[in-house]
């Protein structure tokens, strides 16, 4: 394009040059072909890239999996037993390991008796009870529910000391609050307060030596 403009600029009065139809046709065709070639090349490049990635994944998967024979052995076994016993409650503790890895471990060690592995529904998992140390048991969760409903946030609770003190205040023989009258109540708290008071006085040097 720049050539044409130059030509045009050199002499405004002169006639445009004659360009043969064939030449321009070939140029146009060439440009089209170039474009197509570029697209094709790009496509091929992407294809190559995809192929390479796919190969890489295959290799990785192969490394993870076991030899073909063992897998073939599995495929035949699960077809025999597909139903579970109906009595399994919903609270069957199950883990997050994928099920076929578990079966694989069993076959590998060879110490387990050759039981036919049952296939569990998708939502069930197998877990060891020993690993459950961090999680709360059902009973603990139920107790927590009741505790939170009766004593948790949202309930207006007070202390026993306050209840007894109010009884004394309004009772027949009126007396001081229970924390003052009863030496045993809150003894450790009182001791702690006394110690911290002493520390404060010493720190602030309120009592001259």
């Amino acid at each position: 394009m720049s050539e044409l403009t130059l030509q045009f600029e050199s002499s405004d009065d002169e006639l445009p040059e004659e360009v043969a139809f064939d030449a321009s046709k070939s140029v146009a065709l060439k440009s089209v072909k170039d474009a197509l070639d570029a697209a094709k090349r790009e496509k091929n490049l992407l294809k190559e890239k995809r192929r390479k990635k796919q190969q890489l994944f295959q290799e990785q998967k192969k490394r993870k999996l076991l030899p073909q024979e063992l897998l073939e052995e599995f495929d035949t076994k699960p077809q025999k037993q597909t139903d579970l016993s109906a009595n399994k409650g919903i609270y069957k503790k199950v883990s997050t390991k994928p099920s076929h890895n578990n079966k694989v471990k069993e076959q590998e060690t060879g110490t387990m008796p050759k039981k036919t592995p049952k296939s569990l529904p998708v939502s069930y998992r197998v877990m060891r009870i020993k690993d459950e140390s961090a999680a709360k048991t059902l009973q603990q969760r139920a107790t927590d529910f009741v505790q939170s409903r009766l004593y948790g946030p949202g309930t207006k609770r007070t202390t026993n000391a306050e209840l007894l003190s109010l009884k004394k205040k309004r009772g027949a023989s009126q007396g001081a609050a229970v924390e003052f009258a009863n030496k045993k109540l809150g003894a450790c708290k009182k001791a702690r307060i006394k110690r911290s008071n002493k520390r404060f006085i010493r720190q602030q040097k309120l009592i001259p030596f």
Binding site: G89, Q139, A142, T143, R149, T155, N160, A161, K184
Partner: protein, 683 residues
């Protein structure tokens, strides 16, 4: 009469555990109480609410509900199992797992054929009650939220289940839910929390009554599935409901400690249109009420303050007597403290451990003596396993300790207690036949151990330096197989008396190891008994405050006992509402009998005349003010001392000092769970 040096013991930190469930059995007139630590107690309602049977609990029990089916008792808890109790031997018969997660409620139908349990996973499971066991029958339709409460319709065809935010009515035959009644969440902050329907009751005319966490008692109609009436009873939760047998009275227990009664009466006198009207309010508790029971003549309630309160309904009571007064039961009717009389040691029985203390020494004169040496704790013995201790005893010489849990019996010897810095401890193997004991007793010379076991029989074991050997069994000639709850051995080692829950008292001759005689059966249970050291007379105290004395050698009641029966006892004595738990004798004064109950200590002088109804009963202070000559003419046999309160145990040591173990109720109250904050006027 005598002066005693009194050791006032307040270091027994006994904490009763809160009441979780109540179940009343109309036919046998017993009420079963389940506590938070898993123990189940059976009280006899017509025998002054004497605590007949105690089945100890275990750790992590989480009991939530009780139900009678005929004469059998079942319980269910958060550990997911249904337990049946063997009431004859006072232990657990078996536990079966319901496989539904934690169980929140258990209810039996009126026909006595099925048990329904409500589980955490949202199912109501039906169990068929067979002769020896229960068997799972089927589940009703599973719901999305947990089932907190259940109630059978009296016909047995429908079940109402209280869940989170709603009540479902199930048709038992098809298992499908017929109606869904939605409980609203209330106003204010409670809008964000789900409303828990803590309790439901199904009446025979189709009305369902529910108590929920918003504080409302709601009446629903089961035909249309709609709300009829709603009563706002309290600002906090309504935790328990109970309806009387003829369905005209309902009681509701709240978190604040009030019991509200509703009655099915007509608003206008004479007219026939009846409706449920709120009538009375009882404020006998300070903490949450977890269970109520409407016995026709009384309302029994129990909660986190660990006291069982029996409030008679005065419109149902015909005669105004001691039985129609308000009754509060704080402490168990069994002895938790045993003393080694010769060595000044005391054994305290806690649910999970035992403590052995040595008494302190004092000097000086006057009413309050200076403590020279403080009492010290010698031993803290923890129980292995999860079961709680059923009974324990220390031998009079102080060298042997024995305790029994539901599953086993363990015995320990203590040597070298004189040097209390060094304690040598040895556990001796027990013979296999002594598996578990309901009651334990040492002979007075500490040479034999008596353990009450199954079938109302007593095993004897001999104790020596080398260990413990099984010697023989004492079996009654005839009679029931109920468990023995009291044992008493004589000072000379010849006689042993045992009392069981069927009110039978058997006396055995220890030299021939055979049954000697049986005391005539009385209508009330024996709460305390002791054998006199010289005359060998068995002195018994009953739950209705009667007393009698039986001569073992002559096999008949003594003359003094017949005089007491003929004359009758003073009104004030009969009106006491706590049972006597210990009978002791004073070697220096053979005619004295020392008794105690929770609020008083009494010395009965058998040589003095008995008081009749007109004489002043509590006359100790007046006698003090009278001059010496007049005292003799005015004094009578009963000398009552009311200085000590909340007494758990009184014992007479061999050095003539009395030990009084007190547990002040304020100390118990200061360690209970938190109560609801209530605004009172002028505070």
């Amino acid at each position: 009469m005598g002066e005693f040096k009194v050791h006032r013991v307040r270091f027994f930190d006994y904490m009763p555990s809160g009441i979780r469930a109540l179940a009343f059995n109309r036919d046998i007139e017993r009420i079963a109480v389940a506590r938070m630590d898993g123990s189940v107690e059976v009280f006899h309602c017509s025998d002054r609410f004497f605590q007949e049977k105690i089945i100890p609990g275990r750790e992590q029990c989480g009991i939530e509900g009780l139900s009678w089916v005929g004469e059998r008792l079942f319980s269910a808890g958060l550990n997911g199992g249904i337990t049946e109790y063997d009431l004859t031997n006072q232990k657990v018969k078996y536990t079966i797992d319901a496989y539904g997660g934690p169980i929140w409620t258990i209810a039996g139908n009126q026909q006595g054929t099925h048990l329904a349990v409500g589980c955490e996973d949202g199912t109501v499971k039906l169990f068929e009650v067979n002769e020896d066991k229960i068997q799972f029958e089927r589940n009703l339709d599973r719901q999305k939220s947990r089932i907190i409460s259940l109630s059978w319709h009296p016909s047995g065809s429908k079940i109402a289940a209280g869940m989170m935010d709603m009540i479902q009515i199930f048709n038992v035959e098809t298992g499908h839910s017929v109606h869904r009644l939605l409980a609203d969440r209330g106003v204010g902050t409670s809008r964000s929390k789900e409303c828990v329907v803590w309790s439901v009751v199904y009446l025979s005319d189709g009305t369902i009554i529910s108590g929920d966490s918003v504080g409302m008692v709601k009446l629903w109609d089961d035909q249309t599935g709609t709300l009829i009436k709603s009563h706002n009873v309290t600002k906090c939760d309504v935790l328990a409901l109970s309806v009387s047998q003829n369905e005209d009275s309902l009681v509701a227990g709240t978190s604040e400690g009030t019991v509200v009664q509703f009655q099915f009466i007509s608003m206008v006198l004479g007219k026939d249109d009846k409706e449920w009207v709120r009538t009375r309010t009882f404020k006998n508790h300070t903490h949450d009420i977890r269970a109520v029971a409407e016995i026709t003549t009384a309302v029994v309630s129990g909660g986190m303050d660990a006291q069982l309160v029996v409030r008679p309904l005065l419109d149902k009571v015909e005669v105004r007597s001691a039985a129609s007064a308000l009754r509060k039961i704080h402490f168990p009717h069994r002895r938790l403290v045993s003393c080694a009389r010769k060595s000044g040691l005391m054994l305290f029985q806690y649910p999970g451990h035992l403590e052995l203390w040595r008494l302190g020494e004092s000097e000086g004169k006057g009413s309050s003596l200076f403590v020279k040496r403080n009492p010290e704790k010698l031993l803290h013995l923890k129980v292995k396993g999860e079961d709680h201790i059923r009974c324990s005893a220390v031998s009079p010489c102080g060298e042997w300790i024995v305790y029994s849990t539901a599953s086993k019996l363990r015995e320990n010897t203590l040597h070298g207690l004189k040097h209390f810095l060094f304690l040598f401890f040895q556990i001796s193997k027990l013979p296999m036949v002594l598996s578990s004991a309901n009651q334990l007793c040492f002979s007075s010379d500490s040479s034999h151990l008596f353990s009450a076991s199954a079938q109302s029989s007593v095993h004897i074991a001999s104790l020596s330096q080398s260990g413990c050997k099984f010697v023989g069994t004492l079996k009654p000639k005839s009679g029931s197989h109920q468990a023995i709850h009291l044992l008493a051995a004589s000072e000379d080692g010849k006689w042993l008396a045992s009392a069981n829950s069927d009110h039978e008292v058997h006396i055995y001759n220890l030299q021939t190891r055979k049954a000697h005689c049986t005391v005539p059966v009385y209508s009330s249970a024996v709460t305390a008994m002791g054998i006199h050291p010289t005359t060998n007379c068995l002195f018994m105290m009953y739950a209705d405050q009667q007393m009698c004395e039986y001569s073992i050698e002559q096999k008949q009641y003594t003359d003094w006992s017949r005089t007491v029966q003929r004359k009758g006892l003073h009104r004030f004595w009969m009106e006491r509402d706590t049972p006597c738990l210990n009978v002791m004798f004073n070697p220096q004064n053979p005619s004295h009998v020392i008794l105690h109950d929770t609020y008083m200590l009494c010395i009965i002088d058998q040589s003095l005349p008995l008081p009749d109804d007109k004489t002043q009963f509590y006359n100790q202070l007046t006698l003090k003010s009278l001059p010496e000559e007049q005292r003799k003419s005015h004094s009578h046999a009963f000398k009552v001392c009311k200085t000590f309160k909340d007494i758990l145990c009184v014992e007479l040591m061999s050095d003539q000092s009395l030990v009084v173990v007190e547990r002040p109720l304020e100390d118990v109250a200061s360690q209970l769970p938190a109560p609801i904050k209530q605004k009172k006027f002028a505070t």
